[in-house]
Structures are given as structure tokens and as C-alpha cells.
Amino acid sequence: MYNFEFVKPGSVAEAVAALKDEEAQPLSGGQTLIPTMKQRLNMPGTLVSLTGIPELVGVSADGGTLTIGGATTHAQVAAEATAYPALAALAGNIGDPAVRNRGTIGGSLANNDPAACYPSAALASGATIVTNVREIAADDYFQGMFTTALDEGEIITGVKFPTPEKANYQKFEQPASRFALTGVFVAKYADGVRVAVTGASEEGVFRWTEAEAALSSNFSADAVDGLTASADGLIGDLHGTPEYRANLIKVLTKRAVAAAA
């Protein structure tokens, strides 16, 4: 790790000001940033901690919307997102206890690791990513592996999830990292079903629209039977071929629907 300056502002405004420094980077739970710094793959001049800002932390349900502060840890979401049990379950199965006690939803969404769990929940829920300057629909937010609509210095202050009628997340773990080799989040709303897939695509999290259409007219595992997820553009690596991941997308979608129904 190289030397760096560290600041811990108490408000979003102070954090935004601190991030104007060209060599500054925001630090939330640090579960990706710190390991890359330890390997000297990243050398921020200043780390701006977001975990000392009270308004960024918390889980609240209001009407049909669950709002989670950007710096809320996975463990807190697992414990408090009772209005959205599938989301709470997802958070409770990220990494291990140490990761869940440090890692945050804002950090995960800002990093947009192609195998992370949260992006699938945000996309399948049609969530709104709230930043210090604007609100971004999930469909516009995810723009490919490790790429998002966030501008330089923009901070995720919260995420608004419309709570679904039914939902479930199925994660098939990569044997070494225990990230999602493939994960599928299915959410059923009054106006239709959304299916989001993580871990599988070279382009990061995506919606499986064929399954959404089939499930919107018939929310049962059988509805997916006639579909085939395409292997085009899927990840092929040590842990699975594109074809294998395509198979997992279908299997996990069916399992998620069965578990949700």
C-alpha cells in the first residue's frame, strides 16, 4: 500500500468538496478498494470516507418503497430490510460476516463488479439510484462491467427499491471467491415481472427480457421451460463456459420463481 491522506467528513457536502481533489477517491466499506490498494494496484492521494455521514446510513420503508442509505452495510440491510425479504436474504449471503459488516450497498453499486449480488436486485426491482445531484433509474445506471452512469465525484446517497409482490434471488457460487458464478433475481410487481442476471455477462448485470415476458403472463417455473438463455456474450473462464452460465441462468430463474411463488 502506498501512503495516502485520509479524511472522514460528517456531511455529504463536505465529502463532495473533498472529492474535488483530483487524486481523491471515495471509500465506503472498502471491500474492493482496500485489497487493490494493498496490492499496489490503486494509489489514491486521499481517501474520503463516507461511513461517518449519518444521512447515508439506514433502512426505511415508506408505502411501497424501501430506501437504503448508500453507506449502509450488508449486515444492516440483512437485519432491517424486513419490508423486502428477498433483498434482506441477498444481503445476508454476500461474502462472509467480515465482508457484510464492512461492505456497503453504495460501494457495491458504484463498483458494479460483474459478479456482485446487489446489481441484480437493483435492476430486477427497477430501483432508483439516488446521488448527491440526481436520481438515476437502474435501467440507465448499469453500463457494463465496472461501469456506471456515475460522474466523477458523484456519491450514491441512497437506493429506493419499490417493494415487489414476490421476489427471490438465487446465487450459484463461484467455488473459490464465492461471488456469483451466476445469480438471478426475480421480482414480481403488479405491472409485470423483472428478471436480472449477474455474474454471467461480459457486459455486467442484464435483464433476461424473454423470461420477463413469459413470467409476466404466467408466474410459474414452467413458464421458463420453453426458453433458452443465449450463451452469446456470456463469460467463459476457469469456473464455467458461456454455455454453462447460460444453463445456470435458466435453472436459477426457475428456482427463483419456484421459491418466490
Binding site: 450459484f172 458464478l181 476457469l238 464455467g240
Partner: protein, 789 residues
């Protein structure tokens, strides 16, 4: 008999310090004035070093000195401890293994330069400022391509990338070919024994400390065998006489083979501590461990099993390509040869065996012994091909094995592969394991799984291992450049407590507990009166250390011999004090008695007399009570066992769940059943790791794709079932005083074929035409095989 003698499941005394954070590991050692070494390692697999410019880096803050190969021109290379002779009578090709890369880099991780600085961060900063001019060369990665004419060479001064072409038993070559040609049935299997990284919890660490006042060097290092390091490093690398070189291996957090070997970092810190006149410390990061610890396994094999019309095995022929990596690690040449070929008879009466091994240099990290070392590779191919033969012939795999087993009355049994098994009862261990797993009830369990949409499979493997290594005169003939005896000094103190200095080294095995149990049993005093001292060449007699499941069989035997000498002398003293004849003195429960009388003396009274010899036969007996013994075994020991794995395969995803894992081992006599069970648990965990999860993978450029735990899958508790273990089948070893065979490697040897056999069984029962999947049997590999089958 003391309650903590032989056979008691005494709790491990060393665990108190390990579990409370009071262990003293090498990284816990910090010397006054200590400096820090950082190794700049190659990030490419193969390249020609045109220039190393350290001028700017040398000016960086805190830098004391930067070393390159030029600083070690006067020093030797890292030696290889075993010379294999090939099937044409020629000795193997043996390239120089320099401390720092000379002229070329030959694998990702090959050390190029070392910065020594006041702090580790300063050393790392300076290493980044070293300017390298390295011309990338084509990497040599595929073993079969590497030995073709015209292939790029890893070592330009060798004739090719072939280290040796070994045949065993060479005289049987044609007879085996003939037997296979004329066989009723031949089963053929091509497989890969996957490359592994040992990953002990404690990475390697070395601290060098030179003392100017007496010209003595001390090396603290994470080693399984400090005397071997002292010999290799002192005599062959640095030219330091042994009386001026002390090697200490304090608490060591797991070895699994990879801490047997002498490594460049050890020689570097030792020598640099004199150059700088400051202690020098190097602590491996986990990332460094992946590219600089010797790897294990990495065989590509074709095996053929010939059977007659009665399904008796008539011949085995196996062709193996064994990856040596870029340099020969300490015992690398012996692993695919003498620790592998000699096991190819297995538990069976197969009369003809021929093993061909081509050892090949590649631009990868060196490969050497890893838990089991050669024997898992032999067992895997044999137990897989026997299983495949049973399926091809439509016979029960257990019955096919039973039919071909060496029978209990045939021991001692001369195999066609040079070794003689002293004892064994394979029928007993097989029957025990079948009974423990309710073999008869399997069909009902399989039906129950099927009802849930899962495929259930039952996998059996039976193994033999040759361990307790080894008779020195025999291994000398086979090319070993070391003896393989073991040593012990038993020092009885005046008040009767005992320090045992053993050449064995404990790095997780529990010697401090189990060795004390043996001496407690022999003398009849509580084990807490006995301390086991190990791991310091200045304290213990020259010993060969711990590997090859040898500690109790060889080190324990040396300790028994030394303790016998103690008891003999103590009886002489007691006879004098009791005014009786020596032949009438009995030692029982720590009391010396005169047979047929009520006269007795306590152990401590006799030991006190040895050191306060006022009433003592000084004219015929030296005072004091301290004895040393060296024990050289007359044969290997041959533990064996039956391992059974039951799995469930999810046909939708290919995911394999291990439902149960059962072991029935014959370890001969047992000192501490709980410790033995723990050794089996650990070995099976690593075997399941190899079978299901672990796999070193290089890309086409020789870059390590599995360089961290993000991609290299270690087994975790949740991957493992609760084990059922048994070691009640005991045929004691006939040639060592304790009748023990050793248990450290068995679990890692017997378990991989049991797992894979179970997966194949599940798929075939499910109607899939799959007869082999290479390890690890990961979900994606199983699923892909099912799509083709």
C-alpha cells in the same frame, strides 16, 4: 501404566499455545537492527535479461543494498537432493538453480533482484524503481510439445526440456507389452492429476542473523527439516561449515511438503545478513506463495490395465508426463519415480507392471512433494482404472478388487515393483468400510435421491502407501543424496523429568503430545514430565525431519531405542542402590523393584543418583543419564485402507455434494487415536480439495490465472461432510519397535479416487455415458461432461 501412555487420546498439549495466540512462529521473531528484504520477481514466464538497472532504486530512502545474480557469482545454486537415472542408464539433466535469476527468467515468480531496506515499504518502493530490460521469449508450457525436436528450451545449456525418461521395471517392458496385447480385456484411461498449491496457513518466512563476534550464522525458517536445510545450504550454496551455521524452525504453521525444500530466500537472507552485518527478514505474502512455493502433482497419464477371462489383473502399463517446472526443487525428481512407480502394484497381485515417466522442464513454478507425493498420483490412476474396468466388465467394483487383493496369508509379499509389503489385510479394511457405509442399503438411498431429482453415487477406493521413509542404503542406490534415518537424544534430568530432542519436526502433527506418550509408557511416569524438543540444529542431533509419514515410524523408533538405553542404564544404577543383580531389576509404573522382594526405588531416586553419584558404581558406570540413538529403518511401512465416498449430483447444475465420507485405515499400532483421526480428517480435506476444488491454471502465456483465493478454490468446512473414520483393522508393522505405520498422508492419497469414482457412479446410474472427468470435478466440468454423455 500412565493414563496418558500409548493408546490414550490425550489432548494435544501444543494446542494451548497455538489456540491462544502464544505460538512462536518465524514471523514472530524480530531481531535488534533487523532489515527487510523484498524480492522483485518476474512477471513473465520466460525472458532473456538484457539489463537490470538498480541505480535509481539504490538512491531511494531507506535502501541498504540491492542484490542481483552478479552478487552471487561465487555461490552455488540451490541443490537438488535426488539424482534419477533414466531407463538408458544416463543420469538426469540437472540445470543450475541460481539464488537469483541468471541471464533468463524462467517462470512467473522467478526472483530477479532483492532490495534490502530499513522498512518493508521502502524495500517495495525501491523495487518498483528498478529498471528491467527483459526480452520476452516463447514460454514452454505443454509437456508433450516441450520434448519435441526443436522446441524452445527452458535451459539453453541442456540438450532438451526432458529431465529424464524413466522406466520401471525396465526389464519387464516387453513382457508387459506382450501381456497387454494378449489380454482378455484391457481397460484404458487417460487422465490429468491436477497441479496444486499446498497453501499452509503460515506462508514461508526466513530471518538471517550473522554474528560477527564468533562468525556464526543463524537462519530462522519455516521448515519441516532444519538439519536438511543446514546441510544443503551450508555445504552446497553458501559454503558455511555446519558448526558455524544454526538453523531453527520454530513453530511452523503447516507444511504439507512444500516446507521440506531448500529455497533461495533462505540462502539469501543468511548471506545478506553477513554482507550487511544486520539481520535480514523476508516474509512471503500469500500472492508470493502462489508463485514461489513449490507446487504439487501435475501429471498427465495414460494407464492400461490388462485382465484375463477370470478378471484377474495380468499387467499394468502406465505412461506419465511429470511437470518439473522451471528448476529442480529439492526432491522433485524422486516424486514421479521412486515414490510413484513403486506403488503401481497397489493392493493387488498384478504380476507385471511397467511405469514410464518423462519428467519435463516448463516455464512454470517448480513442482515437488505435496502431501502424499507420488503415491496419490499412483493411487488415483490405479483406483480409477480398476473402477472403470469393473464398469466395462459389468462386475461389482468391490468384488473385482477383492478378487485381486493380495491375501492376508501372502504377507510378506514381494511386489513386482521392488518393494516388499510386510503386513496388511486389505479384505478386512474393505469389509469394514462396506459395513460402515451400509453398501447393501445403497440402492434404496439412490432411489430416494432420484425421487428428489438427484443422482446418487457410491465410490470406493482402496489404497496402499509406502511411507516411514526410508532405508538409507536402499534410497542411496535409487539416487537419494541424503540418508533417511532419524535421531533422538533422551536427556533425563536429575529429578527425573525428561527432555527428548528429536530430529523429527512437528508442524501440526502433535509430536509434543504423542512422542511424550511413548516415553511415558516405556518408563511409567506421567507424560507431563516429558518435553519434546525439536526444530533447532543447536539443540537436537542431526535428524532428517518430517515428511513421508515418517515421524512416528522412524523418529519414534529412534526415540524408543534411546529410551531403551536409558532404561538399561537406570536399571544398572538401581541394581547398585538396591544391592541386587541387574537381571532382577524390573521397571514398572515408574518404580524399580527387585523381582520377588518388596525392595523398590522410585524413578526420581535413581535419576538423582545418576547426577549426585555419591553411592554409585563409578568404576564401571559413567554418571549422568542421557542417551542418543539413530534409527535407520529396514523397510518402508505400508499403511492401507478403504475409503468410500457417497455423493449426490444435481443434474441441472452439475454440482456435487458429498453426503458421506468413510475411512477404514490400517495404520498398524496407534499411539493416540484422536491425533490419528485428526490426521485423517486433514488429509481427506486436502484430498477432497484436489478432487472437487483446487486447480493451478496457467494461461497460454504462462501467467498464473489462479494466483489468489479469488480463483484458487481451497476446501472450506462447508464443503466437507462429517467423516466416519475407523482404524480398528490393525496389522502392526513387523520391522519397527512400535509396530506403527504412519498416518499423515493416507487421507490425501485415498480420497481423490473415491470422490471421482462416486461422481462417475452417480452419472452412469443416471444414464449418462461418462466414464471419466478430470479433477477438480467442478460443477461446470460435471455439467459439460453430462451434455456430451
Amino acid at each position: 501404566m500412565p493414563k496418558d501412555g500409548i493408546g490414550a487420546s490425550t489432548k494435544r498439549r501444543e494446542d494451548i499455545r497455538f489456540l491462544t495466540g502464544n505460538g512462536n512462529y518465524t514471523d514472530d521473531i524480530n531481531m535488534h537492527g533487523q532489515t527487510y528484504a523484498h524480492f522483485l520477481r518476474s512477471d513473465i514466464a520466460h525472458g532473456k535479461i538484457n539489463n537490470i538497472d538498480t541505480s535509481a532504486a539504490s538512491e531511494m530512502p531507506g535502501v541498504l543494498r540491492i542484490f542481483t545474480a552478479a552478487d552471487f557469482e561465487e555461490k552455488g545454486g540451490i541443490p537438488c537432493g535426488w539424482q534419477v537415472t533414466d531407463r538408458f542408464g544416463e543420469v538426469m539433466q540437472e540445470p543450475k538453480h541460481p539464488i537469483l535469476a541468471e541471464g533468463k527468467v524462467r517462470h512467473v515468480g522467478d526472483p530477479i533482484a532483492v532490495v534490502v531496506a530499513e522498512s518493508l515499504e521502502q524495500a517495495r518502493d525501491a523495487a518498483e524503481a528498478i529498471e528491467l530490460d527483459i526480452e520476452e521469449l516463447e514460454p514452454v508450457l505443454n509437456m508433450k510439445e516441450a520434448i519435441k525436436d526443436g522446441a524452445t528450451k527452458v535451459h539453453d545449456d541442456l540438450t532438451s526440456n526432458l529431465c529424464y525418461d524413466w522406466g520401471f521395471v525396465e526389464e519387464n517392458r516387453e513382457a508387459v507389452d506382450e501381456a497387454i496385447k494378449n489380454a482378455h480385456h484391457v481397460t484404458t484411461l487417460e487422465l490429468v492429476n491436477n497441479r496444486l498449491v499446498a497453501n499452509p496457513m503460515e506462508p514461508r518466512v526466513a530471518v538471517g542473523d550473522y554474528n560477527r563476534s564468533n562468525d556464526e550464522f543463524t537462519l530462522y525458517t519455516t521448515s519441516q527439516n532444519p538439519h536438511v536445510i543446514r546441510l544443503l545450504m551450508g555445504a552446497f550454496v553458501l559454503n558455511i561449515p555446519e558448526h558455524k551455521l544454526r538453523v531453527v524452525a520454530p513453530d511452523v504453521g503447516g507444511g504439507f511438503g512444500t516446507k521440506i525444500f531448500h529455497y533461495a530466500e533462505e540462502a539469501f537472507v543468511t548471506w545478506a545478513s553477513k554482507v550487511l552485518n544486520r539481520p535480514v527478514k523476508w516474509t512471503s505474502t500469500r500472492s508470493e506463495a502462489f508463485i514461489s512455493d513449490a507446487h504439487g502433482r501435475d501429471h498427465v497419464t495414460k494407464i492400461e490395465l490388462a485382465l484375463d477371462e477370470n478378471h484377474m489383473f495380468t499387467a499394468v502399463r502406465t505412461d506419465t508426463y511429470a511437470n518439473m517446472g522451471a528448476y529442480l526443487s529439492t526432491f522433485a525428481p524422486s516424486i514421479p519415480t521412486w515414490l510413484h512407480g513403486t506403488l503401481m502394484a497397489g493392493n493387488y497381485t498384478t504380476p507385471l507392471v511397467y511405469v514410464n515417466v518423462k519428467a519435463v522442464f516448463t516455464n512454470t513454478t517448480p513442482v515437488d512433494a505435496y502431501r502424499g507425493a507420488g503415491r496419490p498420483e499412483a493411487t488415483f490412476q490405479l483406483e480409477r482404472v480398476v473402477d472403470k474396468a469393473a464398469r466395462e466388465l459389468g462386475v461389482d467394483p468391490a468384488e473385482l478388487r477383492r478378487k485381486n487383493f493380495i491375501k492376508p496369508e501372502q504377507f510378506p509379499y514381494d511386489t513386482p515393483v521392488a518393494v516388499t509389503y510386510d503386513t496388511g489385510n486389505y479384505h478386512a479394511t474393505l469389509d469394514k468400510a462396506l459395513e460402515m457405509t451400509d453398501y447393501a442399503g445403497f440402492e434404496a438411498r439412490a432411489a430416494e435421491s432420484k425421487a428428489r431429482g438427484k443422482l446418487r453415487g457410491y465410490g470406493l477406493a482402496h489404497f496402499i502407501e509406502a511411507c516411514g521413509i526410508a532405508p538409507s542404503n536402499l534410497v542411496g542406490q535409487l539416487g537419494a543424496r541424503a540418508g533417511l534415518y532419524e535421531s533422538a537424544t533422551v536427556r533425563v534430568n536429575a529429578t527425573g523429568s525428561i527432555s527428548v530432542m528429536t530430529g523429527s519436526h512437528s508442524h501440526g502433527q502433535g509430536h509434543e503430545t504423542t512422542f511424550a506418550q511413548v516415553v511415558a509408557e516405556m518408563i511409567g511416569i506421567p507424560a507431563d514430565q516429558i518435553d519434546i524438543v525439536h526444530g533447532d540444529t543447536s539443540k537436537v542431533p542431526m535428524g532428517m525431519g518430517t515428511y513421508g509419514s515418517r515421524s512416528i515410524a522412524v523418529g519414534g523408533s529412534a526415540m524408543v531405542r534411546a529410551t531403551e538405553k536409558i532404561i538399561n542404564k537406570a536399571k544398572k544404577i538401581a541394581a547398585h542402590l538396591l544391592e541386587a543383580s541387574e537381571g532382577d531389576i524390573e521397571l514398572k509404573d515408574g518404580q524399580f523393584t527387585v523381582a520377588g522382594t518388596d525392595k523398590s526405588l522410585a524413578w526420581g531416586e535413581v535419576t538423582l543418583a545418576a547426577y549426585v553419584p555419591h553411592n554409585y558404581p563409578l568404576e564401571s558406570l559413567e554418571p549422568g543419564l542421557e542417551e542418543t540413538a539413530f534409527y535407520d529403518p529396514s523397510n518402508f511401512t505400508y499403511p492401507s485402507g478403504a475409503y468410500i465416498c457417497e455423493v449426490e449430483v444435481d443434474p441441472d447444475t452439475g454440482k456435487v455434494d458429498i453426503l458421506s465420507f468413510t475411512t477404514a485405515d490400517d495404520f498398524g499400532n496407534i499411539i493416540n487415536p484422536m491425533v490419528v483421526e485428526g490426521q485423517v480428517h486433514g488429509g481427506v480435506a486436502q484430498g477432497i480439495g484436489q478432487a472437487m476444488l483446487e486447480n493451478v491454471t496457467y494461461d497460454e502465456n504462462g501467467q498464473l490465472l489462479t494466483g489468489s483465493f479469488m480463483d484458487y478454490a481451497m476446501p472450506r468446512a462447508s464443503d466437507l461432510p462429517m467423516y466416519s473414520t475407523d482404524h480398528s483393522c490393525q496389522t502392526p508393522c513387523t520391522h519397527n519397535p512400535l509396530g506403527v505405520k504412519g498416518c499423515g498422508e493416507a487421507g490425501a492419497i485415498g480420497s481423490p479416487p473415491a470422490v471421482v469414482n462416486a461422481v462417475i457412479d452417480a452419472l452412469q446410474r443416471g444414464g449418462y455415458n461418462v466414464d471419466h472427468i478430470d479433477m477438480p470435478v467442478s460443477p461446470s466440468r460435471v455439467w459439460s461432461a453430462m451434455q456430451k454423455g
